[in-house]
Amino acid sequence: MLRSVFPQDILAELGRLQREAGEAGAPDDPMASALEGAEQAGAGRLASALPAQPALAALTAGMLTAPGAAMLHSPALALAPGIRDSRGARFPALNLRTSPVAIEIEAFMPGLSIDEVRLSLEGDVMVLTGERESQLPESDDGATVHAAERFSGRFRRVIGLPHDIDTQAIEARYALGVLTITVPRLQPVMARPITIQDPSRDDLTGRQ
């Protein structure tokens, strides 16, 4: 489960990471220069620090050369399989993105039809389930299988959502084999000025 990536102070934490990334001298950092704009440097490093696949972890590890990169391994931000996520399953791979107005979840699940996918919300826990059929031939088909790497079978991913979400306005769209789920955040009531009354001043004006 991805609960741990949404601690209550996630935005504060990301803000801090960005400030520190800025102070660390982003122009010297190959990762940062590859990103569009210095303000994304913190988020970019954060993303590359958290790959789920060991092979990718090995690839990205060498890229974390900037001073301060080690702080990204803080347990508060680690992507760890949760208690409700199924047995270390990594299909579909999930990318999570946050903004002040919404949380966007991308589930990379190619080759499915929408009928085979179920998305449900249980409290503030989102559950994505489905099944992908194998494309491999039956055993007595006269065909030879040289590689069978693609996932097939039932899958289930569980994503913990923060509390300030608008559960009625969740949208999901499937394109290019990616399910994109947009979860809007509840917007705080617009700030409005409150007049402060000062009786003593009223008295003064009354005298004048």
């Binding site: 954060l46 990718l56 992507l79 999570l96 946050t98 966007e104 080759g111």
Partner: protein, 120 residues
């Protein structure tokens, strides 16, 4: 499928991503099925280089602060050596919902060749 074939330096778009594949061979040839989600056709490239079949695709990321990323932005890449009895001119491919399916036919007429084993 058209895209630039000039390789970018590693790291310009993040790490290489190795798409999982199924490879099935029957009497008509070989079918390669590859999972390449999130890549529009214009960012895909499929080509043969000498005796290699090369699959490439660029996974661009959407803007926003990444809170968790199991699939980092990068380039999908996978290549396979083709053997001589396969016909590179006859390769066909189609993509649907992030799944690339490539058919590589056998060169005309050449089927399994029995190799005699000499001995006494």
């Amino acid at each position: 499928m058209t895209t630039t074939n000039v390789p970018r330096p590693l790291g310009a778009l993040g790490p290489w991503l190795r798409p999982p594949v199924d490879i099935i061979e029957d009497e008509t040839g070989i079918v390669v099925i590859a999972d390449i989600p999130g890549v529009p056709l214009e960012r895909m490239a499929l080509r043969t280089e000498v005796d290699q079949l090369v699959i490439e695709g660029e996974l661009a990321h959407r803007p926003g602060e990444a809170a968790a990323s199991e699939l980092p932005p990068g380039r999908y890449r996978r290549s396979f050596a083709l053997s001589r009895e396969l016909d590179p001119q006859g390769i066909s491919a189609a993509m649907d919902q992030g799944v690339l399916r490539i058919h590589i036919p056998r060169a005309g007429g050449s089927h399994v060749r029995r190799i005699p084993i000499l001995g006494g």
